[in-house]
């Protein structure tokens, strides 16, 4: 079993990128029998959650609402 063949799909699956159902099933089947990839899948899932939390925090704390002072009005 070569873990490398699952790496890209594993990352896509963990970060929520849509992938084909068959590829997702293959990843999940591999993760079920490979402890190293299961650990990586869990780490990537946690990272996805943390990045989502950062994105939500910045979206609502003013980072996205800065008034940049563009002079309204077209030339």
């Amino acid at each position: 079993m070569d873990c490398r063949q699952f790496q890209d799909d594993l990352s896509d699956a963990a970060c929520g990128t849509p992938i084909e159902a068959s590829a997702r099933q293959a990843v999940l089947a591999h993760v079920a029998v490979c402890s190293a990839c299961a650990a990586r899948f869990a780490s990537e899932h946690a990272l996805t959650a943390s990045l989502g939390e950062l994105g939500r925090a910045e979206a609502c704390c003013g980072a996205g609402t800065g008034e940049v002072g563009v002079a309204r009005g077209v030339p």
């Binding site: 990352s11 780490s43 940049v68």
Partner: protein, 206 residues
């Protein structure tokens, strides 16, 4: 014709080209927050992010007629302009201020306390987690940082990010995967050592 949520960016840009001020305001209100966040996350500096955002929309007002819809979307066009300006700032070496310093304590606390104000310990833990991730993202080499900002924080798909970055979809995917590996390593290091591994200078990795 009235402008509402169904009015596309492309229509707004055509109207802007014809001197329609309301079209500019609608486009600005719709797109400014994401452009500002992108610049802030890339530079880690609020003043630079404001400069970049202002410059992008000034250029849009000036050159709206230059947009070619056959080459991509208005969103991609705006991110492309923002990226060009961010890279220029980073290459000048003026703007690499840690976001840790750029955002004041109140802003960070507000960010972490939005949903957990009733539980101070949970809010504190959340603040630390968010700050760790923020610093880890800022520590990435530039071309890895930008795919994380676009795909993971702005929630663009690979095609949208590829358009904004002017590269192939496969390049975005492989960079994102590598960037995520680096983030996992750096966050593990933070958990062990309590600090982000040595920051990669902003201009490296371009």
């Amino acid at each position: 014709m009235a402008i509402d949520a169904s009015t596309t960016d492309e229509v707004l840009l055509i109207r802007l080209s014809a001197g329609d001020e309301a079209a500019f305001e609608a486009l600005y209100d719709r797109r400014q927050p994401a452009i500002y966040r992108y610049a802030l996350r890339m530079c880690g500096s609020e003043p630079i992010a404001e400069d970049v955002t202002q410059d992008v929309f000034m250029a849009l007002m000036r050159d709206a007629a230059k947009f070619d819809g056959s080459k991509g979307t208005v969103g991609g066009y705006l991110f492309g302009m923002a990226r060009h300006r961010v890279l220029r700032h980073l290459q000048r070496g003026k703007s690499f201020v840690a976001m840790n310093d750029a955002l004041d304590d109140d802003a960070r606390a507000d960010a972490a306390n939005v949903d957990t104000a009733a539980d101070p310990l949970e809010a504190l833990a959340r603040t630390r987690t968010i700050e760790s991730v923020r610093q880890a993202v800022l520590s990435l080499p530039l071309h890895y940082r930008e795919v994380v900002v676009l795909c993971s924080l702005e929630e663009m798909n690979y095609a949208e990010a590829a358009e904004a970055l002017g590269c192939a979809i496969g390049t975005v995917r492989s960079r994102l995967h590598r960037a995520r590996e680096m983030l996992v390593e750096r966050l593990d290091a933070i958990r062990v050592d309590g600090q982000v591994p040595a920051r990669t200078p902003a201009v490296r990795g371009t």
